[in-house]
Structure formats: C-alpha cells, structure tokens
Amino acid sequence: MFVVALFAFLFYFSKPLIGEVMAWHWQPEHGHYGLFIMIIGSFLASVLAVLLALPISIGLASFAVVSKRKIVLEIIYVMTSVPTIVYAFVAAIILVPFLRSCFIEGTGYSWLATSLMLAMLVLPTMTLTIYNGLNTRYRHYQTTTTSLGLTINQTLLWVIMPLLGKDIITATLLGFSRAIGDTILALVLSGNALHLPNALWDSMRTMTAHIVLITGGNTQDIGYNAIFIIGLLLFVISIAINSLLYRWRRG
C-alpha cells in the first residue's frame, strides 16, 4: 500500500548518496554533502525538548489526578489544538528577542528557543498519556490505599509512580517522535546555522528544516538527493519508535 510505495521511493532516491552523506560538512560548492550536523541538530533539539517537558508533564498529570478541578486538563486539551505554526509565530515575536537580550552572543534564533517551544508542543500529548496511566491505576488502587490511610499524594508517589515506567517511556517516545519530526518550529526558531551549537543560545540546524531549505536548490546537484535521505531517515526513525511503542503496548 502507501507505506510500501513511500518506502520504495525514498529508498530509490537516496541510493546515489548513501555513501557520501556520512560526513560533517555541508558545503555543496565544495562537494561536501555531510548531514551529520543536521542529524545531530535534530537530536539535540528533540532530546532537550523532551527532557524539559517530561518533569512538567508528570507534575501536571499528577496535579490533574489529585485536584478536583478540571481546569488544568481543559487547558491541556486546548493546547493540543493549537497549530504548530502559532507556537512558531509567538516564539519568533517574543521568545527570540528575549533570548537575544539575555545571551548577547546569540541572535536569539537558537537551540534553546527551538527546544523550549518543542517542549510546549509535546507537553500536552505527554501529559495526557501520563495522566491516563495515572488515572486508571489510581482508580484501581484508590480504595485499597485510602483504607490504609494514605493521602492521595502518598498514593501517587509511592504506589503508582513505580508502576508508571511503561507509560513514562511511551510518553517520552511519543514526545520525541513528535519533536524530531517537526519542521516549522525548527525552521523558524533554530537559525539554521550550519554548525553544531556551541551552547544553548547558539544557532543550529535540524534535518527537517534542512529539507525545506534545500528544496529550493538545484535538482541537478546530487546534494538535492540529500532531502530524500533525510526523508528516509525520518521515516525509519518514526517506524522504529512506532514499533517500540507497539511492542510496549502489547506487553
């Protein structure tokens, strides 16, 4: 079906370039087509985003279970319906100048800006996943623990958290796959500099932004085929994560 076709196409187009791509420099004029910088850039942005989002989503999910008020959940739900481009818009106008004034070395278009907004992007999904896990388990253990005299907090902390391993991993994987596949935020906020960021406030480039920047170029140039390699890579990563999740859910 579609998937097979997709896979086939991407594979076919990346064939010419597979060998050359494993290098550091992206300088088409010199014949370097190294994608390492972009790949690592994507990982840096996504990992930081998930690291930032995870504690907060655990905290939020717990809060949602503990408190009687539904307001936090409602806010989270609304956040899931915000388009990515809106996050990019808001960040470009507010976050970037702010970071620029904080860290004078950087232009504001930075690793930190990208990861912060990516974190906001994945936060709702991660929170909801963890919340569902917490909630179902809590309902399960509720009577037992209250009869033992434990407060909600204690229940959550000592009884349920340890059981959450699977859910936390699911949430992390979901967040990571969403973050690494995102194009707009990275394109607008990362600065698209062709080097590894030396610090949080330094600019960088992700695979996804690279695709957009390259589609403007020469079709003749073999470098063009790099977008297909990136596409293939992204596809493979998402397949890998999905398989992991699948197996996790089964188990």
Partner: protein, 262 residues
C-alpha cells in the same frame, strides 16, 4: 517526601500558566490597538484568498480522506484479522508531516504532468489524516457491545449487513469525531503545503491544478518577513482564524467522545 511531590506538582502548573501568560501578553503587547482597527478592513480583505484556499484544501482532502478512512476502518475492524495492516496505519499516523510533503514532492518528479498544486497538497494532506480516521473508526466499531453483533448473527445477517445496519448508526458519533480531527489537522498543517503548492500570491483557485494561498502559510510568511506592525497583524488575524477552526473542531471531537461514553 510527599510534600516535595506536592511542590513539584504546583511548580509544574505554575510554570505552564506563566509560560502561557507571558506569551499571550507578549503577543497582545505588540498590537497597537488603534492601528490594528484602522487597517482591519484591508487585512481581512487581503486574507480572503488565503481563507478560501484553506477551505478548499480542507474540503478536498476531506473528500478524499473520509471515504478511504472510514472504509479502511470498517474493513480492519470487521473483515480481517491481520495485524500487519493496522501496524502500517499506525506507522502512517506517526510519520512527520514533512515526509508526506516530500512524498508529494517526489510525485512531481516521477509523474510527468504533475505539478505543485491544490490537488497535490490535498492528496498529501489526505494521506496525513487518513490514519486518524481509520483508527477512530476501527476503535469505534471494535468497542461496540457484543450483544448487538450477536443479535444480528442470530437473525441471520451477514457481516456487512450487521455492520451497516447495526453498528454504524451507533458509531456515528465516533466517526464524526474522526472527521473533526481530520478537518482540524488539515487546516493547520504547514509543512506539507510548503512543499506542494502554496504560494504567496495566488488569488482564489479555480481549478484543481492551481496554486493556492493558505492561512498557515500567511502566518509563516509574515513571521519571517514582517517589516512593520501591519504585517504582524496579518499573521495575528490568520492565527486567530486558524485557532478558532482548530479549537472548534478538536473541541467538538472531544465533546462527542464524552457524550458517547456517557
């Protein structure tokens, strides 16, 4: 220890609320109210092609995606036991939107007559949302009470008859949910249309092969190239419209869900 945990929770909530507040206030700060309302008429007029472009895009991609999605969902839930197909749908659901855009882009290179256009974007967006519809339809049909199905069997109905007359009517709510999700997703996506056919100045598309404008792209273009506050207002209004569309559709999707469970 539990005390610390409490603190942690509260910090999370505060952090979230502060972040949202700061961003919201910051954006509103950028708007000079007088200037805004002075120009609002021209801005809205100029945005009409983009609005219509988005509407067309959503309409066409839904027209493609909904039948395919529901059909596949029904098929997977009722007519087959293969897990592999479901797995593939899950993969499609998880692929980044830019990969879909890339796929469309590749199509141009391979198919001689193809070009970036409304049709191509609609097809790619359809591919993006079909998995959601399939999943929801499938789940809806699978969680139907067994009793319904058994009654049907005892009456001698075939699988298709049971599906069509007994289960689908009940699943209508969920299917509607799926459609809402698809619409919201189609309206907001930027990456796919960037690669497959959206342009800055296209007027109102009259044929499927026309280039088109779209609201998310207006926002993107304004963000990267704004020269004065007025350009920002374009982005602001587009954002408002977009958020209204997505919030409405996603909210409906959720609401229907709750009602059904109750």
């Amino acid at each position: 220890m539990a005390r610390l945990f409490s603190v942690w929770m509260w910090i999370s909530v505060v952090a979230l609320l502060v972040a949202i507040a700061v961003l919201a206030v910051g954006v509103l700060n950028q708007i000079d109210v007088v200037e805004f309302f002075q120009n609002i008429k021209t801005i809205v007029q100029d945005l009409i092609p983009a609005c219509i472009g988005t509407i067309y895009l959503v309409a066409i991609s839904s027209a493609i995606a909904i039948p395919i999605g529901i059909g596949t969902g029904i098929y997977l839930a009722r007519f087959t036991k293969k897990h592999f197909l479901t797995f593939i749908i899950d993969i499609l659901a998880g692929t980044p939107s830019i990969v879909m855009g890339l796929f469309g882009f590749t199509m141009i290179i391979l198919i001689p007559k193809a070009t970036t256009s409304l049709l191509l974007s609609a097809i790619c967006i359809a591919m993006l949302v079909v998995p959601y519809i399939v999943r929801i339809t499938k789940q809806a049909l699978e969680t139907m009470p067994q009793a319904l199905d058994l009654t049907g069997i005892s009456l001698g109905m075939t699988t298709w008859q049971r599906t069509k007359y007994l289960l689908l009517p009940k699943a209508r709510n969920d299917i509607f949910r799926g459609i809402m999700l698809a619409i919201g997703r189609a309206a907001e996506d930027t990456a796919v249309i960037l690669l497959t056919g959206v342009v800055i100045d296209a007027g109102i598309p009259t044929k499927l092969t026309d280039k088109f404008e779209a609201l998310p792209f207006v926002v993107y273009y304004s963000v990267t190239e704004y020269r004065s506050n007025i350009d920002l207002y374009y982005a602001f209004i587009s954002t408002l419209i977009l958020i209204t569309i997505t919030t409405l559709t996603f909210y409906l999707a959720r609401r229907i869900n709750y009602d059904h469970r109750n």
